[in-house]
Symmetry: C2
Subunit: 231 residues, 2 copies
Amino acid sequence: MNTAIILAGGVGSRMGADRPKQFLLVQGKPIISYCFDIFQNHCEIDNIVVVVDEKWQDFVEEYAEKYGVTKICGYAPAGKTRQHSIFNGLKCTDKNAGDTDIVIIHDAARPLVSDKIISDCIRGATECDGAMPVISVKDTVYQSKDGKNISSLLKRSELFAGQAPESFKFKKYYQIHKDVTDDEIGLTAGSSEIAYRHGMEICMVNGSERNLKITTVEDLETFESILKGVN
Amino acid sequence: MNTAIILAGGVGSRMGADRPKQFLLVQGKPIISYCFDIFQNHCEIDNIVVVVDEKWQDFVEEYAEKYGVTKICGYAPAGKTRQHSIFNGLKCTDKNAGDTDIVIIHDAARPLVSDKIISDCIRGATECDGAMPVISVKDTVYQSKDGKNISSLLKRSELFAGQAPESFKFKKYYQIHKDVTDDEIGLTAGSSEIAYRHGMEICMVNGSERNLKITTVEDLETFESILKGVN
């Protein structure tokens, strides 16, 4: 069984809006609902777990009903960091999970993920222990240990920017979260990082520039103009 | 003496426009002219060398005259790569250069660099061998040697995205270019990279998100809206 965990726990808004970005209405529909549509309509996704701050759960349920999202099997509370939210989503997933299940962890604020990326991630997590969509890094990236002087060069061809959804063999990934300290969970920068650090083999699949995470007003405008092109 | 080398040799346009991006008119003025204004008006810049494809030199000269850019002391031809263009600019700079000179290498397509970044780069290249403005890396960056599986984790806090202008002690930097092979120049991804690889100490100064390189239509729109806010 393949469960999508949709992370909608963020409460901040760099856009200065009245609500977290994933709940902003675009053409009358919340961003998270665009995201739900993709997972609802994807034939390889069986269940959806939503991680959301309690005060937004009614809002999410209302729109899920309005747009016919029937795969939601549970809600988990938001954690103090993204990775804590993931852990909460994993706990909720565990209630129905079998030994060979795959979990697909996505951000509600990435409403343009393609069906192909989701399928590739599921296949990747089946063949390896996990899979992550990546795009190439456009910047010239330098490493500095002290934050003052360059301390080493990195080959751009070996660098990849991680996107979501990141997908994992559920049991292995969940076990890591139960084994490590709360501090380690809090210090995790990417959901594949903690997996790799604890011995899971993570493969990369092709992400897409289009699979953007809506963070700024410019991102929102890009999303709107893509929607206009699509509809 | 401090010489700014302005790189305007690029001929491509990802924007599908009729000319390279640095020559696009914004409010009737080429992007490169906004860039010239900053260096022309900066009290620590003595000379400007322009690296430009020969067929655009008349265009550049015409607008330089129109907007009163008096610091241009020479033109150098565009090279086959960005770093080859830099080498051409260095050769042109060498005609007037003294032993303690600093060279400040900037992209014509970054017309929003601040006076402070330029001053910081000059000071940095005086105190170290070179200086580069950087911003933090927003993506979660993973390293993969084979392009298939994650092979190591990078600490985001130790990663920095390089911007321009990069600044160097002229004599040392120029000598490296004379010493290395043409292939090595061609394979250089960032102008600080070749300096660091050959033993120059490169410090980092604070860059800015605003100091964007105009590459896409979205970047151009951002530049236009910033201009409207400023003017």
